[in-house]
Symmetry: C2
Subunit: 211 residues, 2 copies
């Protein structure tokens, strides 16, 4: 029996989603830094908590290990429902889920495809949680760039006349899309769009954006 | 104002997840069939409900359109919580989300990569919701096959001594993994593993598997 802990890496975009979520909820969880730059996710000791060799992972008091950023956030949402970050009723919950998934499948993954298939650090590791043997695929870079362009066009259109992606409240859909945009900047992808930029600036001004 | 409807395609794996979910809840929703084989998802009339040109989409009475299978299921879960298919408490909710995501990202998408990058019907349409211009990438076929093998190994290990992926209850994690396995059979990918096969047979015997 040990205290709850979040396996995190301060410079990675995926655990940043959880850190922003916790900051919005004013929750503090002790973290353990897993240094992805030196391949700490592949250490034998870490595989006990993360068979998938990815961060973030939340380890509960009873030893249960929860991988996947949104799974971790849902754990806390069930225990700390205020302020609601997954929608306030059935319709909003569905729209938050829809936009979160778009932000992941069409946005975040597109950026990851560009980075993982170009950067020398990911040679042989074209997918997360794989030690070796997944070669980089050059054609995915162009596909990822085109997907990203479609995604930001879609987000910009959605944000016309809206402060947030869903309804009038900040949600995890905004967190995922915001983290994807900052991730895209690292990959030197375009992040234009009048509404997108206004929205991004407003979220960047929230204290949670520094988490 | 019109009645709620589900845009569906009887032969596609993605909307099958929603149909299984609704059958488990004993909910009936009128459906509109969108014939993906003739490209019905690209019709101008359908783009009103699905800007992403994918099925399933749930159109609510007020005209709100919800894309993404799990977003649609969450809409119904909020209104009809019994029997709970997204977990019964914070811990289970998180584990259901974790396994659902694994089943999608590591299982379902791996199969889709294999099919979309080999079958002539998807020439120029290497990603869903794209009319043309996304060429097939041969290297994704091998990558997808390797991902699928990792995934079924992981599922088989999880199911040792367990009836379902999470806890002792059937959830949407089982639905997604089950649909992914049937999808993999279409793609002629291996679906072996003693525990996986026992679990698959048990789910195939549920009335919802025929939905």
């Amino acid at each position: 029996m040990q205290a709850m802990r979040l396996y995190d890496y301060q410079h990675a975009p995926s655990p940043r989603r959880v850190r922003m979520y916790l900051a919005e909820k004013a929750l503090e969880v002790p973290t353990v830094q897993v240094d992805l730059r030196r391949g700490g996710q592949f250490d034998e000791s870490f595989q006990r908590v993360s068979s998938g060799m990815v961060v973030p992972v939340l380890e509960l008091d009873d030893g249960t290990c929860i991988a996947e950023s949104m799974a971790i956030c849902r754990y806390f949402e069930a225990l700390h429902p205020e302020p609601p970050l997954f929608g306030r009723d059935a319709r909003e919950s569905a729209l938050v889920e829809m936009w979160s998934r778009r932000a992941e499948f069409e946005g975040y993954i597109a950026v990851a495809e560009v980075l993982r298939n170009t950067h020398p650090r990911f040679a042989g590791r074209g997918l997360p949680g794989v030690v070796s043997g997944v070669e980089q695929i050059a054609a995915l870079v162009d596909r990822g760039k085109a997907s990203w362009r479609r995604f930001i066009g879609r987000v910009d259109a959605q944000l016309a006349g809206r402060a947030y992606l869903v309804g009038d409240a900040f949600t995890v859909a905004d967190i995922t899309a915001f983290v994807a945009v900052d991730f895209a900047r690292v990959a030197e992808l375009p992040c234009d769009g009048e509404h997108l930029q206004r929205w991004h600036a407003a979220i960047a001004a929230r204290p949670s954006a520094r988490a």
